[in-house]
Amino acid sequence: MNPFSSETRLRDMIRAIRACKTAAEERAVVRKECAAIRASINENDPDYRHRNIAKLMFIHMLGYPTHFGQMECLKLIASAEFPEKRIGYLGLMLLLDERQEVLMLVTNSLKQDLNHANQYIVGLALCALGNICSAEMARDLAPEVERLLQFRDPNTRKKAALCAIRIIKKVPDLAENFINPAAALLKEKHHGVLITGVQLCTDLCKVSPEALEHFRKKCTEGLVRTLKDVVNSPYAPEYDIAGITDPFLHIRLVRLLRVLGQGNADASDLMNDILAQVATKTESNKNAGNAILYECVETIMSIEDNGGLRVLAINILGRFLSNRDNNIRYVALNMLMKAITVDTQAVQRHRATILECVKDSDASIRKRALELVYLLVNESNVKPLTKELIEYLEVSDQEFKGDLTAKICSIIAKFSPEKIWYIDQMLKVLSEAGNFVKDEAWHALIVVISNASDLHGYSVRALYRAFQTSAEQETLVRVAVWCIGEYGDMLINNVALLDIENPITVTGSDAVDVVEVSIKRHTSDLTTKSMSLIALLKLSSRFPSCSERIRDIIIQNRGSLVLELQQRSIEFNSVIEKHQNIRSALVERMPVLDEATFIGRRAGSSPAIVPTSNSASLNLPNGVAKPPAAPLVDLLDLSSDDVPAPSSSGGGFLQDLLGGVDLLPGLNQTAISGTNEAPRTGTDILLDLLSIETSPTQSSSSITDILSSSQGDKSPVASLGEISSPPSLSTRATSAGADPMMDLLGGFSPNPPMPEDNGPVYPSIVAFESSSLRITFDFSKAPGNPQKTTILATFTNMSQSIYTDFIFQAAVPKFLQLHLDPASSNTLPASGNGSITQNLRVTNSQHGKKSLVMRMRIAYKFNNEDILEEGQINNFPRGL
């Protein structure tokens, strides 16, 4: 017999599929089988219909398309035989769903079967209806279902009750027809009917306020009595789950009582006694018993206040927390999370137990417990809780440390009663799990230290000590290096010693040791090494005696493959070597970091705030923040500085140079975009550079450009690490000549472009902004072709969830031509953590007459929901 004909039995097909060794083999078998089934369907042979659908159901489960069998299901349902009907309805439920139009055709068969004399056929029809009922079917068939609620056979009644739930969910208007029949079901003695009746009433209350009112008035007392009977009923083996009688009925009843009691004091009063009885009498050594207790607790927390009951409920949860079963602890934590809004005090009493759960061996329980602890922290308990959590940090699993440190840092930042406590706790966290600390957290610590002028000495000494024991924690090293650079003198002289401190003896060379260790450690990353270099420069001024040694360390990085380090070391070397006169002014202590700005930046994770704060800080005398300009620019800047300020001294000189900072971004852009220009001589460069300085519009607009483009790769506070860079610019100013850097300059000087070649620079625009999505456009034009514009669109997700399947579409009027390049990705990370970029190339045939205009549509998936946003962009800069 041909193994793939319609004569193959279901069992043989399953065997053939199971015998497949690879997925490809399986696909081939299924393909052949499907072909055979199709052929058989075309022959319209009623004998094989049953078997074909049975096979298709199996194939469907394996994930292959089976839509071609849908009509066969209808034919089977129309058949008079029970087995045909049965498989037809099974197929109907699996292969079809309510969106399919085939369903229209099935309504009539369903209606007939609902009125069938055979109760099993009625059952089949009810079951199918309960699974696939659409709104139209619900309207058509509701009277049948209503009638079946009073059917003689209890099995049909319970199916009809559940079917009614589906109907009222699809068409809530139909609810009123079911109120009275449902109320009648509550008086049922048959267990199955009662449980489904209770379920129907619960769902009726959800969709219809009248139903809720009706049941509350008429049925509350009856339900309380029923529950009392169930609680006191003798052991019934058929509904026994692990020794507890009928937990499901318990749970359904208690749940319906919750719906009735919520927001109604009278109804709540009626059920208080029985709830107390359930809460105290139910055995809690079995899962089923705990399920009842859990439901009971939720009901007590939801109905109108009765102080005594709530305490009882929360105490049950407290008992759950010390249960040995993971599941019980898990649900208890879930419930406490809800209870915390109702009665924080009662939950606080179980703080110690919850804290124990943070140390649980089950990761999901740990996570819940940590969240709960986080909610429980307040000003009065922050100290002991933080102490416990930090102690646990020492012994916790590696994979849990990330979560734990994030939460601890957040608790410390939110509730710290005083700065010294904040600094102490953060130091503990950094020493314990510094590698898990997020950038914001250690940046915040630096800001706090900088603001606490009386604690500078204390902090730097504490960090020095911490470094001796925990030098492997990257973020601790960074903060220590930064503080030693800033407050190194306070370290060695025991300045501003607090009463609680023991004085320590540290020499300048010891302090340099720390920085040297951190710069030479092979695990240190670029940020740490750059920060160390700056600290070294600062120390060279603080400890003149170590100056030579520091220079040696700095020089070692002159050959670094990382451009940033190479550049810094060359610059700093020349500062130490040649510019003693300005050094002390250059490396003065940082001005106090602005806490408000920092908090603002952190609060709005949206990058929109960054440009303003960045450009504001550009005006600070010492350049608190500097846009991360490309090294090329710095080098170019070197030659330009030769002329304007060749011999000014100290501060004044510095001012000039910092004035020049504004000019940098503009340079940067021109410098980067043009790389193939003809070689030019030094003076030409100078002239070009100077000419840029005289066109203020251009440079100011490009400052915004460069700032916005820098947001992506540098975290807002990365500028902390860059702090000393603006002074470093000055160092290069006078080092032209026999400096090793000249080689570098020589290498780069052929590259500078002619700024005018670049055409005018257009400001970026925000093309679209909503609470969840932001789109910016950056414009550039290829020289010599004014009609063409390249738009770099950047999409940023401002919401808390990631977007998937992100698609951007745009349309333009006829005088424009638009070409969209592929986007960089179709997944957009949440909270502005990254972006998608896409290039749009526009050709404007009416250049100079009409400006650009564009309609756009953005489609993406958010929490599995399709979102579509549309808009028109009219704010393009003129002249594009």
């Binding site: 089923a288 993971n326 089950d362």
Partner: protein, 166 residues
């Protein structure tokens, strides 16, 4: 409401899947795969509950039980009691056990449509229909009787012992 019932083996092959909120076919396979991805990475001694918001959308949980080579999984929303769902899996497995006398994975594979009949007697359109395995057995036996009585093709073989060895 219960959103889905799934049974899959420890290799991730679906053995039974029924979705009560209609899902397109390829989506169903994707959901089964993601659920398996979550389950197979869970340790033995942890709780049986998983937050499934990332797989099934907001307000969805998974409860699962691991028996021999099979995972039994229920997906449901906050209107169901988690611990009760755990007991419900127990009811399902006990019923299967009574039907097949020491149920094993192969019983599920070869008695596909009977399993669905059992399932439909316990779960009904996302609600719990019956929690007593004796009642479920009674209903299933009645249906089997009707099947054989009508002299038609028998889909449910009486014995599966001959196929145990692959």
């Amino acid at each position: 409401m219960i959103r889905a019932v799934m049974v899959m083996n420890t290799q991730g092959k679906p053995r039974l899947a029924k979705f009560y909120d209609s899902q397109p076919v390829d989506k169903q396979q994707e959901l089964i795969r993601s659920v398996f991805g979550v389950l197979c990475s869970r340790a033995e001694n942890v709780s049986n509950f998983v937050e499934a918001d990332s797989i099934f959308g907001p307000d969805s949980r998974i409860v699962y039980k691991h028996f021999a080579t099979l995972y039994f999984v229920l997906v449901f929303d906050s209107s169901e009691n988690e611990l009760a769902m755990l007991d419900l899996i127990q009811v399902l497995v006990e019923t299967l056990d009574k039907c097949f006398k020491n149920v094993c994975e192969l019983d599920l594979v070869f008695n596909y449509s009977k399993i669905h009949t059992i399932l439909d007697e316990i779960f009904f359109g996302g609600q719990v229909l019956e929690t007593s395995s004796a009642e479920v057995m009674k209903a299933v036996e009645e249906i089997s009787k009707l099947e054989t009585a009508s002299n038609s093709i028998t889909l449910v073989p009486k014995s599966v012992s001959g196929w145990r060895g692959r």
